[in-house]
Amino acid sequence: MNNNQNNILTIAGREFTSRLFLGTGKFSSVEAMKKAIISSETEMVTVALRRVDLENPQDELLASIIENPNIQLLPNTSGARDADEAVRLARLARNMGCGNWIKLEVTPDPRYLLPDPIETLKASEILVKEGFNVLPYINADPILAKKLEEAGTSTVMPLGAPIGTNKGIKTEDNIKIIIEMSNVPVVVDAGLGTPSHAAMAMEMGADAVLVNTAIATAGNPEMMAAAFKKGVEAGHEAYISGKAKITDEAHASSPLTGFLG
C-alpha cells in the first residue's frame, strides 16, 4: 500500500490528483472518448498500441489524448501473446514518441484476455531494465505482485473480474492481500462495472482504479465517467477517514471497561 493517506497519488515520480484512470478501446467514437475523459477528470489514459498507426506520429487516436497536457498517456500491449511481443511493442511505442510509460498486457487468451503471469514477469524485468515505467496488468496473485514489485514495476494492476464482464470485484480477498503487502501503488483494473464497484475497490485501500467497458459502453458515457469519478472519490475519502466497524449487534460505547470510569 502506498501513499493512500492523502489526496495525491504518486506513480513513477508523477503526481496524480485523480485516482480514476481510463481505458479507451470500446468507445463509439473519438469524440465520445474525449467527452468521457473530460467529465471523468482522469489524468491517465491507456491506449492499445494495436489500434495505433505506429508509423504515424500524428495518429488521430494518440493525438486526441496527448493534446491535453494534464493527461499521462499510457500505451498498452493488449494482444501480445508473450514477453517478446510485448517488449517489441513497448519499444516501438517509445521510438515513435509515446514516452516510456507502458501498461503491460500480455494476454495470450483472446476470450477472457486473462494475463499470463510468467510472460508478464519476464517482460517487466526486461522493460524495467530498459528504463520503462511498467504498469503490469495481472490476475489478483499476491506472490506475482511482490515479484513484480521486486523487479521494479511502478504499480501492480490486479483485475477485479475479467475484462468486459462488469462483474465487479470477484477477487476481493486476494486484492486485499496485495494491498496489504504492496509497497507500490495498487490499481484495480478490469471488471469494474459500476461506480459502486470502484468505490468498493477504493474503500478496500486500492490506490486507484482503471475503467474502460463500463464507461465506454454505457448509454451515456460522459455521465457514467462523471459518476465513476464520484464513486472513486467517495470510496477513497471513506478509506482515509477510517471505516466504522461493521457489526450486527448494538454495542454500548464501553461494554467491557466502562466500569473503570
Binding site: K26, R88, R111, G164, T165, A216
Partner: protein
C-alpha cells in the same frame, strides 16, 4: 482433430434434437450463465424464433460488453480465380467457362495500394483452389511484400498442411478463413464430384492445422442455403467451440456467407430468410460471447445496416470479388455478385450513424516479427 468431435454427432440426430426443442428448452438455454453443448440445440430450433427479440437484445448486450462500440473493417483481395475443384455452387467451378487469371506480383501490389489508400489495414487474400497456379511460395512472396503495409493479412485459399501454414505465418500471415461449406457429409459428396475438395476430412481438419501452426486467427463457416441452416449452424458452432477450447490462444471467427448468384446458375437448395440469418447470428453470439462474427458485402444494405448492432464485429466494405477488381482491369470474372456495393467511406459513415466506431486497424504487424 475436429473430425473426431464431429463424428460424435450424426446429422440426423442433431436435426432431430433441434427440431424437437421446446419453448422451455429455449428458455432454459437462454437463462443458463455458462452454455454447454446441450444449450446449442434449442437456440437453433424453430421454437427459438418466438424469442428472437429477446435473443437479439441479449446478443446486443453481450457484444457491447465484450467488443465495445466498434466494428472492424476489412476487404478481400482476390489474387486468382483459377480452380481445379468442381463445387456445383461456386462461380469458380473448373467447369464454368469464365475469364480466369492469376495476378502477377506487380498487379497484386497495385490492387493492394488501392486498398491501402481506401483506408484498410486489414486485408483478406483469396484464391480459387489451384496449387499449381498459386503455389505456397508465391503466397509467401506476396505476404512478405504486403507485410510492411498492412496490420493484418489473412488467407482464404486452398487447405494446406501445418508446415505450409507455419511458413506462411513466418512470412506475415496472421489469419486463416476456411468454410466447410456444409457439414452434411452426404450432400458434401454430391456437391463436390471431383477435385481435392471432395476430401471432407482433409477440409474439416484445416482449421486445426492452421491453428496448430500458430496462426492468430481462424475463421469458419457454412455456405448458407446448401443444407438445413439450423443443422449446419449447430455444426459450425460446434466447430468454433472446439477450436476455442483446443487452441485457446487463437481468436476464432464465424462468418455467414449466404448463397449468391454466381456463374453456373446454381440455386440454393434450402431457403434461408433474413429472419433465419438473424437468429443464426444472435445464437452464435449468445453461445460464444468472445467469437468474432463477420458479415460480408454478400448481404444487402438494409440487412447489414440493421443487423450490425446485434452481434456483428467485423464487416467487409467496398469488396471486389475478381482478381484485378480494384484496378478495374477486366482480367477475370467475379466469384459472386456483391449486394452491398457502397464505398468504404459510405460504410464507415453508416457505422458512425449507428453509434459505432469503424476501426480500420486493430492489429499490428509487429506482433509477428521475430
Amino acid at each position: 482433430m475436429f473430425i473426431h468431435e464431429f463424428n460424435r454427432y450424426s446429422w440426423e440426430t442433431v436435426r432431430e434434437r433441434i427440431y424437437n426443442a421446446t419453448i422451455s428448452d429455449v428458455e432454459r438455454a437462454l437463462n443458463s450463465e455458462f452454455k454447454n453443448i446441450d444449450d446449442f440445440f434449442p437456440l437453433f430450433s424453430p421454437s427459438a424464433d418466438n424469442y428472437l427479440e429477446n435473443m437479439a437484445q441479449l446478443s446486443l448486450e453481450t457484444t457491447r460488453m465484450r467488443f465495445g462500440n466498434t466494428i472492424q473493417l476489412y476487404t478481400p483481395l482476390y489474387i486468382s480465380n483459377e480452380c481445379n475443384n468442381s463445387c456445383l455452387y461456386c462461380g469458380f467451378n473448373v467447369k464454368n467457362k469464365i475469364k480466369r487469371t492469376t495476378l502477377t506480383i506487380d498487379q497484386v501490389l497495385e490492387e493492394a495500394e488501392i486498398i491501402y489508400q481506401m483506408g484498410f489495414r486489414h486485408i483478406l487474400l483469396l484464391t480459387g483452389e489451384d496449387k499449381k497456379s498459386v503455389p505456397v511460395q508465391y503466397l509467401r512472396e506476396i505476404a512478405e511484400k504486403l507485410h510492411g503495409k498492412f496490420a493484418s493479412i489473412s488467407l482464404e485459399v486452398y487447405p494446406m498442411d501445418i508446415d505450409e501454414y507455419s511458413n506462411l505465418e513466418k512470412s506475415g500471415i496472421d489469419g486463416l478463413t476456411i468454410y466447410q461449406e456444409t457439414y452434411d457429409q452426404d450432400l458434401y459428396s454430391q456437391l463436390h464430384p471431383f477435385g481435392k475438395k471432395r476430401d471432407f476430412e482433409w477440409r474439416i481438419n484445416t482449421p486445426d492445422r492452421g491453428a496448430a501452426s500458430g496462426l492468430r486467427r481462424v475463421g469458419v463457416g457454412s455456405l448458407l442455403g446448401l443444407s438445413d441452416w439450423r443443422v449446419d449452424g449447430f455444426f459450425t458452432a460446434l466447430h468454433a467451440h472446439y477450436l476455442m477450447k483446443k487452441f485457446w490462444r487463437c481468436h476464432v471467427q464465424v462468418s455467414f456467407p449466404r448463397i449468391r448468384e454466381a456463374a453456373g446458375a446454381f440455386k440454393a437448395l434450402h431457403y434461408v430468410s433474413d429472419r433465419n440469418l438473424a437468429q443464426l447470428i444472435c445464437t452464435m453470439r449468445i453461445l460464444m460471447p468472445d467469437v468474432g462474427l463477420v458479415l460480408s458485402t454478400r448481404e444487402s444494405r438494409t440487412f447489414r445496416d440493421n443487423i450490425l448492432p446485434l452481434g456483428i464485429t467485423v464487416m467487409s466494405a467496398g469488396s471486389k470479388t475478381s482478381p484485378g477488381g480494384y484496378s478495374h482491369i477486366d482480367l477475370a470474372d467475379d466469384q459472386f455478385s456483391v449486394d452491398d456495393d457502397r464505398s468504404p467511406e459510405e460504410i464507415a459513415l453508416m457505422i458512425k450513424e449507428k453509434g459505432f466506431e469503424p476501426v480500420w486497424k486493430d492489429w499490428d504487424k509487429s506482433f509477428l516479427e521475430k
